[in-house]
């Protein structure tokens, strides 16, 4: 057990170092850092001073280690475009993305579980069939088109909800939140649905399949034979046993939500890190791209690690042998 955990931690560490290596390669070798920071008119002395200060003449492994060390301390260099420290840019924009991701995940899990239970219990009903068929269309729609269509319907035609931005935000320390104002909450609705819709259908289908599987089993029949009310059978017995796969899938999808925020944030001009990344790609702002890669890579590796360790906690059969999932 301890050995498995140690090996899994080591694996995660190696992958993180690899992600950092890719980020470092992008940071160091794409474009000319000196020219990007000083412009073409800089004197030779200025250039030499900057090269010395950034340590660009040190051996590459030394530079890599310094890059990793700086990143751990939260120093990702200076943006080529705005000349601000990248860490300040990220700190300013991260709350927007995290709030959006949180609301999307909540929407996906809550509504997905509810609809999944409903379609499993009333699986022959008309409404359940309608939900299942429309979920197929939802899966085939590209994310950006869902966003644009929602804007069209709710912002342009009906005029109910804002179509871009975060609305008014309240600053609490370093964190700017949109949860405390009416316009902030209204601005969250459309982007959160856009971002969470795919995950919602995924969770719904998963809950439905698991529920149907479990409702076939003997202990459900016995529970009914004991005369338990249907509500107890469904929620006390069946639902409880479907939650393990749902939690793991929901956990893994959290990473996907943060990555797909790139698209949603662009559609809604949501001032988060995803929009920052797209702008960085457009303007070839290398330090920002590299920092975003490190950030998202870390999130993914940590989420995968937690999910794998949760498996060990939840399923005792895995403790003796190999890990079931080999996602590195």
């Amino acid at each position: 057990m301890l050995f498995i955990i140690a090996r899994r931690l080591l694996q995660a560490f190696v992958v993180l170092l690899l992600v950092a290596l890719v980020a470092f390669t992008i940071f160091r070798f794409i474009g000319d850092p000196v020219e990007s920071l000083l412009g073409q008119e800089a004197t030779v002395a200025d250039r030499q001073a900057l090269i010395d200060r950034m340590g660009l003449n040190d051996p590459i492994p030394v530079q890599y280690l310094r890059f990793v060390g700086n990143a751990i301390r939260g120093d990702f260099g200076i943006s080529y475009r705005t000349a601000e420290p990248v860490s300040a840019l990220i700190a300013e924009r991260l709350p927007a993305t995290l709030e959006l991701a949180f609301v999307s995940a909540l929407f996906a899990i809550a509504l997905g579980t509810l609809l999944g239970i409903y379609t499993a219990i009333f699986r022959h009903g008309f409404t359940a069939h309608a939900i299942m068929s429309s979920s197929l269309i939802g899966v085939s729609l590209p994310t950006f088109l869902i966003g644009v269509l929602l804007i069209w319907l709710f912002a342009v035609e009906l005029g109910w909800l804002p179509s871009f931005g975060r609305g008014e935000t309240v600053q609490i320390g370093f964190w700017s939140t949109g949860f405390l104002t009416a316009s902030g909450l209204k601005s969250l609705i459309l982007p959160a649905i856009t971002l969470g819709l795919y995950q919602m259908t995924l969770i719904m289908r998963l809950v439905r399949a698991e529920m149907l599987e479990i409702l076939r089993q003997d202990f459900i029949r016995f529970a009914r034979a004991r005369g338990l009310p249907e509500r107890m059978v469904y929620f006390g017995h069946a639902l409880k046993n479907t939650m393990v796969p749902v939690i793991t899938v929901a956990g893994l999808q959290l990473g996907a939500i943060i990555a797909f925020a790139i698209i949603t944030e662009t559609v809604f001009q949501w001032p988060g890190v995803g929009l920052m990344f797209i702008n960085a790609v457009f303007f070839v702002d290398i330090p920002v791209m590299s920092a975003y890669l490190l950030l998202v890579g870390t999130v993914f590796v940590v989420i995968n690690l937690i999910v794998d360790l949760l498996y060990l906690v939840i399923d005792p059969r895995l403790r003796d042998g190999q890990l079931k999932r080999q996602t590195v």
């Binding site: 794409i30 085939s140 990555a259 070839v284 290398i286 890579g297 995968n304 080999q326 590195v328």
Partner: protein, 308 residues
Amino acid sequence: MNGERGAWQRFLASDFFYDFKRSPVTLVSFVIVVTLILLAILADLVAPTNPFDPASLNLMNGFTPPMEPNAFTGETFLFGTDDQGRDLLSAIIYGLRVSLFVGLTAVILAMVLGVSLGLLAGYRGGWIDSLIMRIADIQMTFPSILIAVLIFGVARGLLPPDLRDELAISVLIIAIGLSEWVPFARTVRGTTMVEKEKEYVQAARLIGLGSGQIMLRHILPNVLSPVLVIATITLALAIIAEATLSFLGVGAPPTEPSLGTLIRIGQDFLFSGEWWILLFPSVTLLALALSVNLLGDWLRDTLNPRLK
């Protein structure tokens, strides 16, 4: 000639064609995909105007609604016009050409790369196998759209600024191709590991054929049917990925708009009431992606009777 007709008749009598005939959804999807591909190939002949020829544009025609004569010039356009007075139908047909071209070439790139690496990993085994599959595992951890955007950004950084728009399409193809090779490699590796133990491969080895020849001439033909299925499904993914990147503004350049670029332009005019600039490109993209997806699903069920 006779032999050809024999093959054609054998095809008409095959289970494959029988299944195809029996599925109305598949027939409709097939007709839609073929029509859209033909439109894209014959764009110069079928499009009413050439949307990239400034001489054919008349600014007075700007914002003409579909099927209504323009207030100034009296001209009528089936799908209306955009702000520049560009015929939307023509823009869509030319955009379709860019979308399909990028999608198809990206899939071919992903397929060649994935199949080669998969064959190599499955046939050689050992450290080559571990290395390739570790890279595949790590790449699978990240969503492919993220990887495609990243590759696009890196390529932009490597290119001098004046070449960025010119080479944007090639960069787009490489970015999407490199982000989709993993499913090919995984499937081919698995099948190759099964196939290489079979007697015909042993026999080929026994008569002294080299590994390259065994992989390409003997194993490859036997792993092709799952590859075909993955290629079709990946084509739908690649078309959507291209549209997404272009919509985000990090894909096709403004000089060669794809369907995604047109949707991006259309979104700008939503608030002023010009809904057709958004609607028609979106419907075209959806019809294309959905039909390719349905064809892929059908192909998977047909070539894999066990799943039925």
